[in-house]
């Protein structure tokens, strides 16, 4: 299990993707799966910065990666406003160009790319988003 703390800033996304990418590699994942984990984590952290913290440099993001039995768990923790991605409606992927909305797309991708996405908010300890992916899984 490895934990790293990153300032809540978009320029940290590169390092965040590297951090979870290395853990996905440890779990024996292939290139496509590693990319999926990196994209899902990026989308999650972007949402933390934009919505939980309401902008850059308003806090920290703590990320823990845990590999067990070819399953990778990425735990993303912040102390911003609670923001439950499961409450965000799915984007309309069939709308034509003029009606297409980009809001909610990151969350939609996150759910599609991972096998499990769970969210927990606590007044004392902050918000915890857990992303789970099995090697060779469906996500």
């Amino acid at each position: 299990m490895r934990t790293e703390i990153f300032p809540a800033a978009f320029e940290q996304l590169d390092e965040i993707r590297e951090f979870v990418g290395a853990a996905a590699l440890d779990a024996g994942m292939d290139n496509k799966e590693i990319y999926a984990v990196q994209l899902a984590t990026d989308e999650a952290c972007t949402n933390v910065i934009e919505h939980a913290y309401g902008g850059e440099m308003h806090g920290q993001i703590e990320i823990t990666c845990h590999v067990q039995d070819r399953t990778l768990t990425v735990i993303i923790h912040d102390h911003g406003k609670s923001f439950d991605p499961n409450q965000v409606p799915e984007p309309n992927l069939n709308a034509d160009l003029s009606k297409r909305r980009i809001g909610g797309l990151g969350i939609y991708l996150m759910r599609k790319l991972m096998d499990e996405v769970t969210y927990e908010a606590s007044n004392e300890t902050g918000n915890t988003l857990t992303l789970l992916k099995h090697k060779g899984g469906m996500g």
Partner: protein
């Protein structure tokens, strides 16, 4: 991320390299907007040198396509989209919004 521009007779070719995420997507938006402000709405995006694109990049593509297609004045097309990015675009339902080409000559020749 790095963007270079080449002007052809009937379209502009933007070559995007590196990674597009929330940190770098504004640069992509800026490059597309600058091209459009110069009156060039027919744009080919060469994505062969792109390693990564998040939904922040998709947002830049969507805004660019909307602006190009307004008043039927043009279109943005994508060339040589890497597999991982293509898969994510597909998941996001974006592949139907952009014509995609397997080589630059065909993409430029489309206009």
């Amino acid at each position: 991320m790095d963007i270079t521009k080449q002007e052809f007779k009937h379209c502009d070719l933007l070559t995007v390299k590196g990674r597009v995420d929330s940190a770098t997507a504004p640069k992509l938006t800026e490059a597309i907007e600058a091209t459009q402000k110069a009156g060039h709405y027919k744009i080919v995006l060469d994505m062969s040198g792109l390693d990564y694109m998040s939904s922040a990049g998709f947002r830049a593509l969507l805004a660019g396509q909307r602006n190009s297609k307004r008043y039927n004045r043009g279109e943005m097309v994508l060339a040589l989209v890497p597999k991982n990015i293509e898969d994510a675009l597909e998941l996001a339902g974006f592949t139907e919004l952009f014509k995609r080409f397997d080589d630059i000559t065909a993409a430029v020749g489309y206009f």
